[in-house]
């Protein structure tokens, strides 16, 4: 029996529920599956309650697909129409969570404060507070985030327990409360897959609190964790580098070097590890061992300050013994720095003249390297550690014999840290999303104009054009011909802020050593995979009570859009779309990542356009709008025009902002390079002197 039950799996839950046990207690949004309790109560709920659950579930469904602009008005109207009376407090919390997901933090904050009292289930309350705090933190407002986090009392839902701990530590570190941040992570309560981030963040917090010994213990736990994914391998590398630097600072050079050699040669932390390995070997008096990592390093893209340092470090090793070779290498460094400075100055001038960053990046020739060595540091696959360089040390130990092998960075590499920064990515995507929004607004305006023309006699031809275009533009397989159906598969959907942690995976650990994770790449946006399952041409269903039906799949639908189904048009309206379903659906476009902050706007405008056209379509069918609608249309048009103007201004601001960010980054690179150039010239002068003395 037990085996049977175990095999039955989910059916056991049902059995328990049927026997009267409440498997899913608590509120509608409780637990990792927010609607699970709602579903479990489906059988028990009386009609009106069940209907409320369904309507709330619909808003939840839309929000899960990031369609906040449909979800929010739908829930608002359901409230206003009195359809959500029984569980009004919970549905209001849901509405506020939707607003928060949509990015209206200010409104959500005040509404949560009014709503989240003892009427609300504690777990739902804590989840809502957590989401609000996360939203504030992501907008670089740690003080507000901290104030919101302080509202969390009692247990946090299991699925966000680890994220809650990480968020607490991020916020406290950002506020300079390092000791408290370490305490927040003292015992890890989240998922196993996230514990590496917990250990790492605790290590950083302890280090910032001045407790290096404890910090090392925590960081070593990260290094000892099994890691297979690239994210965890990168985290392990980062921990190894941190340990190496800390031990070096403490004077334990052999141990420091040991940890640095564990870093993967092609990982994102490899440049720092190579540089430090060389310095430590040099300090230990092992010149040849110092040369190997530095020679490897100087083949890489010059935009990295560690690579620039290696150009100065290598000739310093033989400045005394082989000054002529040192002169040659210093000359090469001066040339490389000068050339790079020129490139940066050109890029700066281009931006100052008003060119966009996109144009600058596009104008840059494909990466040219002086040598054939590919020196990028993020190949993505696990590679041998730095210790592998030891084998080639003798080969690389002849000073001055090998070519410097400098790699000229492209603009993309030069501004790599800028391009990878979260703020820049938000800006760049925001700009492109706003442009898409303007297109949608233009479309919306055309539709409104068509609607306005429809109110005048003799306008059927215009309506035909509009309606036909509507279904051509919005058609995706399976949904094009279905009025009221939601957008179908293959849509690029950003990750829902209400789901899971919402924190970027990279944001789960902290930068070194400041701990403020402001500039990690944004990985919150993903494109969802499509189901590749091919369906048969038709389905035959046996109906209960005898008989069967055959329902063709979408392929047949498109091949026979005007078949017998339309003969029944009188019985059910809204089939006009069938007549205009495309015979050959366009290939699905590749999913494009969109900014979470603006993607909804683009979707919303698209949705708005569809709504207007649907109304146009209806008007064409004979239900002419009356005078009230005229006013509505006129006011709507005016609002869309105003919105468009403001969007254009916002695009300009976004572009200017992206330019400013790029200029700041270029200025930083410029200063760094200028400093190194001065240094190289100085050392070159010294080497000339040494050579002359010899």
């Amino acid at each position: 029996m037990l085996t049977l039950l175990r095999k039955s799996g989910w059916r056991c839950h049902l059995l328990v529920a049927m026997l009267g046990g409440s498997v899913f207690g608590g509120s509608m949004l409780n637990g990792s599956m927010p609607g699970s309790s709602m579903q479990a109560r489906a059988d028990e709920a009386p009609g009106p309650t069940r209907l409320q659950q369904l309507l709330s579930g619909e808003a939840l469904y839309r929000s899960q697909l990031n369609d906040y602009l449909s979800a929010i008005p739908q829930l608002q109207l359901a409230h206003e129409e009195g359809l959500l009376t029984d569980s009004s407090a919970e549905s209001e919390v849901l509405l506020t969570r939707l607003k928060l997901g949509y990015g209206l933090r200010g409104e959500a904050d005040s509404e949560f404060r009014a709503l989240l009292d003892e009427r609300i289930d504690p777990q739902l309350r804590n989840r809502a507070w957590y989401e609000l705090a996360r939203s504030f933190y992501q907008q670089r407002n740690p003080s507000s985030a901290k104030a919101v986090l302080d509202n969390i009392q009692g247990s946090v839902p299991d699925d966000i327990r680890g994220d809650h701990q990480l968020l607490q530590s991020h916020v406290l570190i950002a506020l300079g409360q390092h000791q408290q941040a370490a305490q927040a992570l003292e015992s890890w309560r989240g998922a196993k897959s996230l514990r590496g981030y917990g250990y790492y963040n605790r290590g950083i917090a302890l280090m910032l609190a001045g407790r290096d010994t404890d910090a090392l213990v925590s960081l070593k736990r990260v290094v000892d964790l099994p890691a297979e994914s690239e994210e965890l391998l990168a985290l392990r590398d980062k921990a190894s580098v941190t340990i190496g630097y800390t031990l070096a600072r403490q004077g334990d050079l052999p141990q420091a070097r040991k940890y640095l050699q564990r870093v993967r040669l092609r990982g994102p932390s490899s440049n720092k590890a190579l540089l430090a390995s060389g310095w430590i070997a040099q300090q230990q008096g092992q010149t040849k061992q110092a040369l190997a990592p530095w020679m490897e390093l100087r083949k890489r893209a010059l935009s990295d300050p560690a690579v620039q340092q290696s150009l100065l470090a290598v000739p310093s090793l033989y400045q005394q013994s082989a000054p002529a070779s040192a002169v040659k290498d210093y000359e090469a460094a001066v040339t490389a720095f000068s050339r790079e400075l020129d490139s940066i100055d050109q890029a700066t001038a281009s931006l100052q003249q008003g060119h966009n960053l996109g144009e600058l990046l596009a104008a840059e020739p494909v990466k040219t390297t002086v040598t054939a060595v590919s020196g990028t540091s993020d190949s993505g696959l696990p590679k041998p550690g730095l210790s592998a360089l030891g084998a080639s040390a003798s080969r690389l130990s002849e000073p001055g014999l090998s070519e410097p092998g400098l790699s000229e960075p492209t603009s993309s590499q030069r501004m790599g840290s800028l391009l990878a920064s979260r703020i820049f990515q938000q800006t760049a995507r925001g700009r492109s999303d706003l442009r898409a929004m303007i297109d949608n607004l233009d479309e919306g305006l055309r539709s409104v104009d068509a609607l306005a023309r429809l109110t005048r006699p003799g306008s059927d031809r215009i309506a035909d054009e509009v309606v036909t275009e509507e279904y051509r533009t919005r058609s995706t397989p399976g949904t094009a011909a279905i009025p009221g159906a939601s957008v179908g598969r293959s849509q690029a959907v950003p990750v829902n802020p209400l789901v899971g942690s919402g924190l970027s995976i990279r944001n789960r650990f902290l930068g070194l050593p400041t701990g403020y994770p402001g500039d990690f790449p944004d990985s919150e946006v993903i494109a969802l995979p499509e189901s590749s399952q091919e369906l048969p041409d038709s389905y035959a269903f046996n109906l209960p009570g005898g008989g069967s039906i055959i329902i063709p799949n979408r392929g047949d639908w498109h091949r026979n859009p005007t078949g017998k189904w339309r003969a029944h048009n009188n019985s059910v309206p809204e089939l006009s779309a069938l007549a205009v379903a495309p015979a050959n659906p366009q290939p699905l476009s590749q999913p494009q990542p969109l900014s979470p902050s603006l993607a909804e706007l683009v979707t919303a405008l698209s949705e708005t356009r569809i709504r207007i056209r649907r109304i146009v379509s209806r008007a064409k069918l004979g239900s002419r709008p009356g005078g009230q609608l005229d006013e509505h249309i006129a006011s709507l048009r005016q609002r869309i025009v105003l919105l468009r103007d403001r969007t254009v201004v916002a695009v300009e601001h976004y572009e200017q902002h992206a330019r400013n960010l790029a200029l700041e980054e270029l200025q930083r690179s410029h200063d760094q390079l200028q400093h190194n150039l001065r240094q190289a010239r100085l050392e070159l002068a010294k080497s000339y002197d040494s050579a002359n003395a010899h």
Binding site: R11, S36, L104, Q320, T514, L528, S531, F541, I549
Partner: protein, 199 residues
């Protein structure tokens, strides 16, 4: 000593003496650590751009509110014009918890007319699993008796494909009719049940 310090950290006049090289290793390490922390501190420095971004974010939030308001009005307009409550017919699909269950497609026919055909993506399946309700159809229906036929196909937790269909009469009155299409686990089978409820 001063010259030695300057070897990598600061600029100084060229010197003929090479005595500074003896102290080089220790100083290099100092430089390394300072380099490391300097670059980190640079990241932490407050940036004017970040403040600018807050302004932009505020601007976008205002735009969002406006779009939200427009969308709300359109929805109202749409409901009034297209789906007056006396004729309104709404179909809502819900899925009760079933591990690893995937809904592939739904077809809805009313009086022999195909009303809706929808294929579910992974994201939509995830939304359903989290308690979401999908509205595969919203339209108008004349008062009286009608025949509703709904069929679904999908994949069970064991990876087997399945198909289910159900036919049920629908009596449309003078008020809006909500029909729930509920996919729920069967007690002694891996294939879920499809039931129709009218609210």
């Amino acid at each position: 000593m001063d010259r030695a310090v300057s070897a990598f950290c600061t600029e100084s006049k060229p010197a003929r003496s090479l005595s500074w090289l003896r102290l080089l290793p220790m100083l290099l390490l100092c430089c390394l650590v300072s380099f490391f922390f300097r670059s980190a501190l640079a990241d932490d420095a407050p940036s004017v751009s970040r403040t600018d971004y807050s302004t932009l974010d505020l601007q976008v939030r205002t735009l969002k509110k406006e779009v939200l308001a427009i969308n709300r009005e359109l929805r109202l307009l749409e409901e009034e014009m297209l789906y007056p409550s006396a004729q309104q017919l709404v179909m809502l699909l819900s899925v009760l918890p079933q591990p690893d269950f995937k809904l592939a497609e739904i077809s809805i026919m009313l009086d022999g007319v195909v009303l809706a055909l929808h294929r579910y993506s992974d994201a939509e399946n995830a939304a359903l699993a989290k308690g979401g309700t999908h509205r595969p159809y919203m339209g108008r229906l004349k008062q009286g008796a009608h025949q509703l036929t709904v069929s679904i196909s999908g994949r069970t937790a064991e990876g087997d494909t399945f198909q289910r269909a159900i036919r049920q009469p629908v009596d449309k009155q003078q008020t809006a009719r909500y029909i729930e299409l509920r996919v729920e686990p069967a007690l002694f089978s891996d294939v879920p049940l499809l039931n129709i409820y009218q609210w």
